[in-house]
Subunit: 153 residues, 3 copies
């Protein structure tokens, strides 16, 4: 029988802009969060992430290493970003095997969405529960699993 090593969530080595609000408990480390942004409770944001200005990251969302999000975005509740496509036949601990995700500005991502490593351009809406598996290069509304273009916004 072993004694586990217990660590605790917290805010460590984060570069905050002016006027940011965070609801704790949240696990946020090694990232940058721009002016006027908001981070809800039960959120994890990993190292190397950049979040722009006036962007909201709502409760229960996980933002992994390799993600950048622009300004005036709304990342709703329970959104899961992914950086490891398991291309080595399973999960990899080596960041060289991961891919990044770039989210533009004025992007809204609905609750429960899953975002594989992709590029999403400005002015995009992702529906709740969508699974985004491919780059989105044209503004508009995308829904479903896998997410497909639905209509112009």
């Amino acid at each position: 029988m072993g004694i586990p090593r217990l660590l605790h969530v917290g805010i460590k080595d984060v570069s905050f802009g002016e006027g940011v609000t965070v609801i704790e408990p949240a696990n946020i480390y090694g990232c940058a969060i721009g002016d006027g942004s908001f981070v809800g409770p039960f959120v994890e944001i990993q190292k190397g992430v950049t979040i722009g200005k006036r962007t909201r990251v709502q409760s229960h969302t996980f933002v992994c290493e390799g993600v950048s999000v622009g300004d005036d975005c709304f990342i709703a509740h329970g959104v899961m970003f992914v950086n490891d496509l398991f291309r080595t036949g399973g999960a990899s601990r080596d960041p060289a095997d991961w891919k990044g995700t770039s989210v533009g500005s004025r992007v809204s991502i609905g609750s429960g969405a899953t975002i594989l490593p992709v590029t999403i351009c400005d002015d995009v809406v992702i529906g709740a529960g969508a699974v985004v598996t491919k780059d989105i290069t044209k503004p508009g509304i995308y829904i479903g699993s896998p997410a497909r273009f639905h209509r112009a916004a």
Copy 2:
């Protein structure tokens, strides 16, 4: 470099019935929770929500403003309710742009389901991982993304 405003989850301005159990940490505010109900950990329930009697809201679930849930319901783990359809071309901060959700009594919603703003009648079962996009007016079992009628219960 700014200093973030840090708030903390908690239980504020909640009208509890008799015999309610809450597992903390949970973020529950401005809502009403009926006799004998249960709220699991890592749950957020927003203001204006009403939860009936003997209803269970399990861990990791998010219940947004505008939702009412009846009696004897089971809202499983990681269920995300949605009130903003992004109809203005993105997320709106104005509640006038949101739509409510009404869940009847004796409704069970499976883990990982996403519930867009709809009305769900009594005696409905929603499968795990379903995405409910339309009103459900007939008792029975609904599964899939988008959720469709599967069979009578």
Copy 3:
């Protein structure tokens, strides 16, 4: 107006192997977690669960009663295991109505996946956002809702 009973997440009656790390807050009780495994924050692992050696259970994941996971697995973020198929016409509080899930070794399960009660053999990859509704008896990559065989790993 009632006064709710407030309980708090924690680690209770867990059999840990050597070299386990847990990030709190986490709600882990009555289960066994093998040598060198990791449990991220905002995780719940219920009683009777067994987790093998060198397995990672990432943030926001829920592992219900009746689940066993082998060695060298990666359970990503926001994964929801299910044990109640609501076969009685709704949620049941009687464990006799639940079904278990067995996950082999060297299995990677992507973020946001939902795992209904099934058996998953060794050397399987489940894509992010997948909904696994049937047993998986052949190694390989499975994606989608419901999850289907995609290709060999």
